[in-house]
């Protein structure tokens, strides 16, 4: 079954890395196929950033996302540019500390940036909190798979911080309500 996941936020949040980690989890640890692509301008840092992953159990032909069924949105500009047209049965994971709008589709509020700062002391791991929440809500990859893929991808010395962030994402998703 084909899933199209779109990540959006501002440059520097780790929007592209999030997609790389998710694709890696699907391919290396769930044995599925995945294609990761991205859109970014020369202004990347600070500007709207978007990346996407397609996950399927059969080989992926057309590599671009056309109609995502899953969104991870981490900035208001990212929402306006890449999230506002989400189809009705899509699922959106919102960083409610940065996104003010709410979509017409199903969504869950995850205050990832606030929690990253207050609970973990580092807002840099907000994207990993979002990844944890995404996996808990959508099951698009297994929890063990995302954990291994995170450990593969983060800088040495930050493993436990990132795992804490992932677990915090799981918890926030469990506590949160799908609207």
């Amino acid at each position: 079954m084909r899933h199209e996941v779109r990540f959006s936020g501002f440059g520097g949040q780790g929007i592209i890395l999030s997609a790389v980690i998710l694709g890696r989890a699907a391919v290396m640890y769930d044995g599925n196929y995945a294609v990761q692509t991205q859109v970014y301008g020369p202004e990347a840092r600070g500007g709207a950033s978007m990346s996407a992953v397609i996950i399927d159990d059969e080989p992926i032909l057309y590599p671009k996302v056309t109609d995502p069924d899953i969104f991870v949105i981490m900035s208001q500009e990212g929402y306006e540019k890449y999230g506002v047209h989400a189809k009705e049965n899509a699922m959106m994971v919102l960083d409610s500390s940065l996104v003010h709008s709410r979509p017409a589709c199903r969504y869950i509020e995850i205050p990832a940036t606030r929690e990253a700062k207050q609970t973990l002391g580092r807002d840099i791991v907000a994207n990993i909190i979002m990844l944890g929440a995404l996996v808990k809500v959508t099951r698009v990859v297994r929890e063990e798979a995302i954990e291994k893929a995170i450990l593969d991808s983060v800088p040495k010395g930050t493993e436990s911080l990132n795992l804490k962030a992932m677990k915090l994402g799981f918890e926030l998703a469990e506590k949160g309500k799908i609207q």
Binding site: V20, V35, Q36, Y40, I60, Y62, P63, T66
Partner: protein, 360 residues
């Protein structure tokens, strides 16, 4: 793995031990990966002052016997044109990777295009011929880079890996083989003039440091390599050989994939638009829709068109205004319809379905 990384891995597997170039989006990851990996395998990475020097260093490295490459995109590719002609004239094996972005000029640095397909064939001055490959997946970024090195050494020509930003930057599943096929350069027998070509039209290569004295010049030269730039017949023979050694082997170099040979409406693609066509055929299995996908674009393998004897039309989606469609037109009597899509976007399956409907 990312396409650009797969290209670098393919180069390393093929035994490439020299990279000279200048980073440019969207090709930079090729250079980054080579910079990280080459020193660990005894190779050399040099970031030169610009792309002109980049290709010059590659030509020099190749003459020492090393498999050598560079990687760039549109603006850097334009700067390389003069020395590409030098590599052609001096019969220097080398691999040039162009991860194509939107042009002209600096254009769209981060967006995909296929608009350098004629430039790679004709961009340097004078008559000549080269080989150009076009990958449509991360797996092919690896495989065709390996092929590029083998073809370069076999034919003693610059070989171009003409990828696009979509394939260069996307990440997908790849399987890396334990070993790859390797074709060695034909060695020049001692005592033979260095540019004397046999029936195969390709001279043997003198081995660096083994006592060969060779004069390498971009001027028209005799078989000893010495300039002789005023003889019409010598120049004609040399240029004809440089073209013929590639063109006469074009059906051997040809590498393409045929789907539904009995089709009446046939897509012809190379690079990322192939993925859209594959999606259309997957979603609407129909033997009346065919697909010819080139992995080698130059020298142009016109006999591939004969694989579709019932074709009524060739539809050619490209990320340019119809560069290869124009070449196809030269070789067929049936209508050739360019389907340009550029500005960075890839043809969607819906767009190509509509194009098929228009010819039903």
């Amino acid at each position: 793995m990312q396409g650009n990384t797969a290209c670098a891995e393919g180069a390393l597997a093929a035994g490439c031990r020299f990279f000279g170039g200048y980073p440019i989006t969207p090709s930079t990851e090729v250079a980054e990966h080579m910079a990280a990996k080459l020193p660990r395998v005894g190779g050399v990475f040099i970031q030169m002052e610009d792309e002109i020097a980049g290709i010059a260093s590659v030509i020099g490295a190749s003459w020492t016997g090393a498999r050598a490459m560079t990687a760039t995109s549109g603006p850097g590719f334009s700067l390389m044109m003069e020395n590409i002609g030098f590599a052609v004239m001096t019969e220097t094996p080398c691999v040039l990777v162009n991860i194509q972005r939107g042009g002209p000029s600096t254009g769209q640095p981060t967006m995909s295009a296929q608009a350098d397909m004629l430039q790679c064939r004709f961009g340097s001055h004078g008559d000549y011929s080269i080989i150009a490959l076009s990958p449509a997946s991360v797996q092919e970024m690896f495989e065709l880079t390996v092929d590029a090195f083998n073809l370069a050494d076999r034919f003693r020509v610059p070989v171009f890996l003409m990828a696009d930003e979509i394939i260069g930057h996307m990440r997908e599943r790849i399987e890396i083989p334990d070993s790859v096929p390797r074709e060695e350069r034909k060695i020049l027998p001692k005592g033979t003039p260095p540019f004397r070509a046999d029936e195969g039209m390709i001279p043997g290569f003198p081995q660096f440091g083994k006592g060969y004295g060779v004069h390498v010049t971009g001027l028209t030269h005799d078989e000893r390599g010495y300039p002789c730039a005023t003889s019409p017949s010598l120049h004609e023979d040399l240029v004809k050989r440089l073209v013929a050694k590639v063109e006469s082997a074009r059906h051997e170099i040809a590498d393409y994939r045929v789907t539904n040979p009995e089709a009446e409406v046939v897509f012809i693609t190379y690079g990322s638009p192939a993925r859209t066509v594959e999606q259309v055929l997957h979603d609407h299995p129909d033997e009346r829709i065919g697909h010819l996908r080139f992995r080698v674009v130059w020298p142009f393998p016109e006999k591939a068109l004969d694989k579709f004897p019932d074709a009524k039309v060739f539809l050619v989606p490209e990320q340019n205004l119809g560069q290869i469609a124009r070449e196809i037109e030269r070789h067929t009597c049936i209508p050739v319809v360019p389907l340009p899509r550029f500005g960075g976007a890839l043809h969607t399956p819906a767009e190509l379905e509509k194009a098929v409907e228009a010819w039903r």
